[in-house]
Amino acid sequence: MLRRLALPLLGSVAAVAVASLLVYAFQPIAPTLSLGVVYVLAVLPIAVVWGARWSLPVAVASMLVFNWFFLPPVHTLTLRDSENWSALVAFSVTAVVVSELAARSRRRAADAEQRRREAALLAEIAGHLLGGGKLEDELVWIGGRAAEVLGVPRAEIELGRPHAQHGDAPTPLEVDGRAVGTIYTPVEANEHVAVRKRFLPALAALLAVAIDRRRLEREALEAETLRRSDLVKTALLRAVSHDLRSPLTSITTAIGALRNDELVFTAEDRRELLDTIAVDADRLARLVGDLLDLSRLEAGGAEPEPQVWQLDELVRDVVAELGASGRVELAGEHPLVNVDAVQIQRVLANLLENALRFSPAGSSVHVRITATRREAIVRVVDQGPGVEEAMLDRVFEPFYRGEQRSGAGLGLAIARGFAEANGGRVWAESRPGQGATFALALPVVEAPVELVS
């Protein structure tokens, strides 16, 4: 308080003193009366810095000091000439006008600074809101920054209408009558009311845009997800109905033929028809099994029961089971993996069957096992026609069949499902004309302690 008075007081006295010294210095070379203008130099800075409250007294003091020390009769306060009066009026007018101008420009500058901060903050908020972060997190940050601009110690923004539970005073954020949210601020005496009126609607508009944007994004995502799952379902149904119908047609045809008394069959014909029924009944059973596996995998129902196995032994078992020992060459390391043996053998069987199906007769399929510290990789390399690069991922989609027409196109999809359920992954590497490589990677386990020591 003292400081707030002392500084202008000292300044004012100093200003008058300096002006007086100047007048004293110039007295020998200029007419005394004309030197009165020097006191404007005292009034001006005081008016600019501290306003009319101080510059008016300085004007009066200047006039008195000028009168007392320099105007004849010296050392009296008698105003002999009308010039003295006009000097006083000039000082006073200067003091008031300059003070007012300075004050106004100070206010303008402060106002401009405030608006600049608001605009900068709004731009910053817009950037954050468009950034796509979580809206709730952004609101915390926006609240903190809004408090600075509003001149309150804290501000909290919530989506939704005002409620009484919050300790601070609520102000609804609205855009064209639409309630966007509520800002809660403590009641403060020196809060900037004009700022609040200007800033809050802009903030509300930004929030409304952000909320709408998030809603639209969510809706678009939902629509896209729905559309895709619809497409998948349609493709699935089409493929399933084709794959079920073909064996069904040959079965019903063969049964219809066998039951028709008007048709004449040799013993060989009968066996042929019965074979057809048996083969296609198997095909149907396998397809239904595959479909069940796939739907279990998609529903996350294929819970693996992992145990530690030596990967190359799993491969050897599968090769033997497929009766393909003569066509498969196995080489490489012997890493340990912690997997569900039934599921991983299913993966290996599907990869091997796929490779065997595409290999030219007489060529063999190479299986190579490599291991790093983290992963064991089985590569199944065939000498078939290969897979186009664009199709390398698609081959793992359910019902993708490529050029081949045998099989339902489920094997690789199931392989991927079981591999992923066991913490692994499958992928294809290939160049057309150079054969394809299908790889399975599984996390390796450290050898059990008793084996290491």
């Binding site: 109905s241 119908r245 079965i251 063969a254 033929a257 028709n260 014909d269």
Partner: protein
């Protein structure tokens, strides 16, 4: 039973279906050729002209419709297409391209054999000046229709509709074929015309128009005229 040894060409890309159908047809006394692709089908048909073709709509190297169109450029051998639910559009295309009939997979052996016998019976459209359908008498030259000697009055379009159906007795005629034959080549997509005229025609020639016995509807495909006494 079939005329012994008539040659049937069976075209399907599923080896198992080909095998079952081949054995079945042989058991019914036909001589059977099989083909698994469109190309093989056309080659087989050219090498040994078949009496009839049983043709799957989806082939690895083309559609059954294309095969049908190609065959029609040089043979009138009847074609029965094997279609599946979901292939309705292709089925109609094949019929428009000259196929005579269709069966839907999975079909019964009896149904297929009956259709095959039917298409083999009528190798050419009936062309005489007077067609008999049950107790109906259709005089093509005089444009007169009588039932038991009693005249039935038909509009010109109704008459033409009946005539085209009767001349292709037993054969499934698609909406497009009927519209073109009756209304002219500029027509083809106005199936609703056809439904209206068929219902008018039925009300004049059927005993119970709500349970037609002569002009039968093949849902989604077209119409077929059958002899009420023959079936």
């Amino acid at each position: 039973m079939s005329e012994r040894g008539q040659r049937i060409l069976v075209v399907d890309d599923e080896p198992q279906i080909l095998r079952a159908l081949g054995t079945t047809l042989r058991g019914a006394g036909y001589t059977v050729d099989t083909a698994a692709t469109a190309e093989a089908a056309l080659a087989a048909a050219a090498a040994q002209p078949p009496a009839a073709v049983i043709l799957d709509l989806v082939l690895p190297d083309g559609s059954g419709t294309d095969v049908c169109r190609e065959l029609r450029t040089w043979t009138d051998a009847p074609v029965i297409v094997l279609s599946a639910v979901g292939e309705e559009h292709q089925k109609i295309e094949a019929l428009d391209a000259g196929a005579d009939d269709y069966v839907t997979k999975p079909f019964s052996v009896e149904e297929l054999l009956a259709r095959l016998r039917a298409v083999l019976r009528r190798l050419a459209p009936e062309a005489g000046p007077v067609l008999e359908v049950g107790n109906l008498r259709v005089d093509v030259a005089e444009r007169l229709v009588t039932r038991n000697g009693e005249r039935i009055k038909l509009t010109p379009h109704e008459f033409d509709l009946l005539r085209v159906l009767a001349q292709n007795r037993g054969k499934l005629l698609t909406h497009r074929t009927l519209l073109r034959e009756v209304w002219g080549p500029a027509y083809g997509d106005e199936a609703h015309y056809l439904h209206v005229y068929v219902s008018h025609l039925r009300s004049k020639i059927e005993r119970d128009p709500s349970k037609p016995q002569i002009v039968l509807t093949e849902p989604g495909a077209g119409y077929r005229l059958v002899d009420p006494e023959a079936s």
